[in-house]
C-alpha cells in the first residue's frame, strides 16, 4: 500500500509541471509559484486594476472606493499574481454593483506587464471582464 502511494506521488510529481506549464499558457498562472519548478524561467509581473461602472450603456471610472473595496481589490490582485486568470474578480464586481444602485454592470480592467520574448522587452497586456447585474437592484 505504501509503495503504491509513493508511486502515485512520484507520478503526480512528474506530471504536475506539464499541467502547470499549460496553466501558465492558458490562464497566465505565475510560473514561479505553485510547484511547477519554473522559477527563473520567465519574468512575471503583478497586475494593476482599473474599475468602471456601466450606467445607461456608458462606462465611467469607479470613484470613492471604501476601505473594504480596497481590501477586496488587493486580495484579488494577490490571487491574480499567483493564479492568473483562474482568480476571479466576481466578488469585487458584485460588491461594487451592490454599492452603486444605478449601475447596470461593472468592467474590471486588468493591466499586466509581460516579457515579450521576440522583442525581449517589457510590454503591457490589458484584459477586460464585464459583469452584468444579475439580481434586483
Amino acid at each position: 500500500m505504501k509503495r503504491r502511494l509513493v508511486v502515485a506521488f512520484l507520478v503526480a510529481f512528474a506530471i504536475w509541471p506539464a499541467v502547470h506549464r499549460a496553466l501558465v499558457a492558458v490562464y497566465d498562472v505565475n510560473p514561479w509559484k505553485l510547484a511547477g519548478w519554473a522559477m527563473y524561467a520567465r519574468p512575471h509581473f503583478p497586475s494593476r486594476l482599473a474599475l468602471y461602472l456601466v450606467e445607461d450603456g456608458a462606462e465611467r471610472p469607479v470613484s470613492g472606493l471604501d476601505d473594504w473595496d480596497r481590501v477586496m481589490a488587493a486580495e484579488y490582485l494577490e490571487r491574480r499574481y499567483s493564479a492568473g486568470r483562474l482568480a476571479s474578480p466576481r466578488a469585487l464586481a458584485d460588491r461594487l454593483l451592490a454599492r452603486n444602485a444605478r449601475a447596470d454592470g461593472v468592467v474590471v480592467e486588468v493591466r499586466t506587464r509581460f516579457f515579450d520574448l521576440p522583442s525581449a522587452t517589457i510590454r503591457l497586456r490589458v484584459e477586460r471582464e464585464s459583469f452584468r447585474r444579475q439580481g434586483p437592484r
Binding site: V6, A35, W37, A41, R123
Partner: protein, 310 residues
C-alpha cells in the same frame, strides 16, 4: 549465487517490499549500504529548515502571532525528532504546521511546497524501518531528479535562456546578478541593462552580445537536464550529486535564495550512497546555525537572502 547468498544480498525486506525491484529502486544503493543514518540526518535538518524559515517569517516579515506559533511548534518538533520515540510525532506535527501554512497563505515560494512534500514522505515512511527506508531514499532521489529535470525543461520550454534574455533581465532587476555577471558582460552593455531596470514598459531589449553569457545561460538548462541522468546512473551518481550540489548552491547564492538553495542541495546530496549525506550534514547544521544567529542580529545575512519579491 546460492539461496543463502541471494537472501543475504537482498536490501529490502518486509511486507511492503516488492518481490522484484522495479523502476522505483533504480535509485537504490548497493546492498548493505547504510543510508538510514543519512535519512535520519536529513529528517532533522528538514525540521530545522522549516523552523528557521518560520522564525525568519515571523521576525522579518511582520511579526504575525500565527507565524510565532508555527515557528514554536517547528522548533519543538526539531528538538523532539532527535529522540527516537518522539521522531514520528515530530514529523506529523511539522507536516500539520507547514500544511496549515500552505493552506492559509497565497503565493508561497516553491521550496515551501517542496518542504511539505518531503514531510509527507517522512510521515508516510519511517526511516527506522529497513523496508520503508529503502522506499524513502528512492522516493527522495526520484523527487530531486524530477525537480532538476523539470527546472531544465521549463527553461527550455519558455525559451528565455537561448539568447540569455532571462539573465539579462535579472541583471537589470537584481544588483546581485549584475555584480555576479559583470565579468562576462561588457561594461557598456551592463550599464545599459542595469539602467533598463527590468520593470518599465517598453524597456529592453534584454539581450546581449556577450558570447560568454549566452554560453553560460545555455549551460544552465543543459546542466539541469544532464545532472538528473548522472544521478540516476549509479556509476556517475557521486560525481553527479557533488556537481549538482555545487551548481544549485552557486546559482542560489547569486540569486540570494539561500533557503531554497540549502534545501535543494541537501536533496541532491541525498543521492550520495550510504552515509554520504550524514557526513556532510554538519555543514548544513552550521549553515542553519548561522541563519539562526542572523535572525538574532548577531551576524549579517543580507549577502545570503534577498528581501521582498521581484
Amino acid at each position: 549465487m546460492n539461496a543463502a547468498s541471494a537472501a543475504g544480498s537482498r536490501s529490502v525486506s518486509g511486507p511492503s517490499s516488492p518481490a522484484r525491484p522495479g523502476w522505483l529502486e533504480w535509485f537504490a544503493d548497493p546492498p548493505g549500504s547504510d543510508f538510514a543514518a543519512s535519512l535520519r540526518a536529513f529528517r532533522l535538518l528538514l525540521l530545522v529548515h522549516a523552523s528557521v524559515r518560520l522564525w525568519d517569517r515571523y521576525l522579518v516579515e511582520g511579526g504575525h502571532p500565527l507565524h510565532l506559533a508555527m515557528a514554536a511548534v517547528l522548533t519543538l518538533a526539531s528538538i523532539a525528532v532527535t529522540r527516537p520515540q518522539l521522531a514520528r510525532a515530530a514529523v506529523f506535527a511539522a507536516l500539520w504546521t507547514v500544511g496549515m501554512e500552505v493552506i492559509i497563505t497565497h503565493g508561497l515560494a516553491n521550496h515551501v511546497y517542496a518542504e511539505l512534500m518531503l514531510l509527507g514522505l517522512y510521515a508516510l515512511l519511517d526511516p527506522d524501518r529497513e523496508d520503508e527506508a529503502l522506499l524513502l531514499v528512492c522516493a527522495l532521489r526520484w523527487m530531486v531528479a524530477l525537480l532538476l529535470l523539470w527546472a531544465g525543461l521549463q527553461k527550455l520550454l519558455y525559451g528565455t535562456y537561448f539568447h540569455a534574455e532571462f539573465l539579462c533581465w535579472m541583471i537589470a532587476r537584481r544588483p546581485a546578478f549584475a555584480a555576479a555577471l559583470a565579468w562576462v558582460v561588457p561594461s557598456d552593455e551592463l550599464a545599459r541593462l542595469v539602467a533598463a531596470g527590468g520593470t518599465q514598459l517598453g524597456s529592453g531589449p534584454y539581450r546581449t552580445d556577450s558570447l560568454l553569457l549566452i554560453l553560460g545561460s545555455n549551460a544552465v538548462w543543459i546542466a539541469e537536464l544532464v545532472l538528473p541522468v548522472m544521478l540516476l546512473v549509479r556509476r556517475s551518481r557521486v560525481v553527479g550529486a557533488v556537481l549538482a550540489a555545487l551548481f544549485v548552491l552557486s546559482i542560489q547564492l547569486v540569486a540570494r535564495e539561500v533557503m531554497f538553495g540549502l534545501l535543494y542541495s541537501q536533496l541532491v546530496l541525498l543521492a550520495l550512497p550510504g552515509r554520504g549525506f550524514r557526513r556532510v550534514a554538519p555543514l548544513y547544521a552550521l549553515a542553519y546555525a548561522y541563519l539562526a544567529a542572523s535572525l538574532l542580529g548577531l551576524v549579517p545575512a543580507d549577502w545570503l537572502m534577498k528581501r521582498g519579491g521581484l
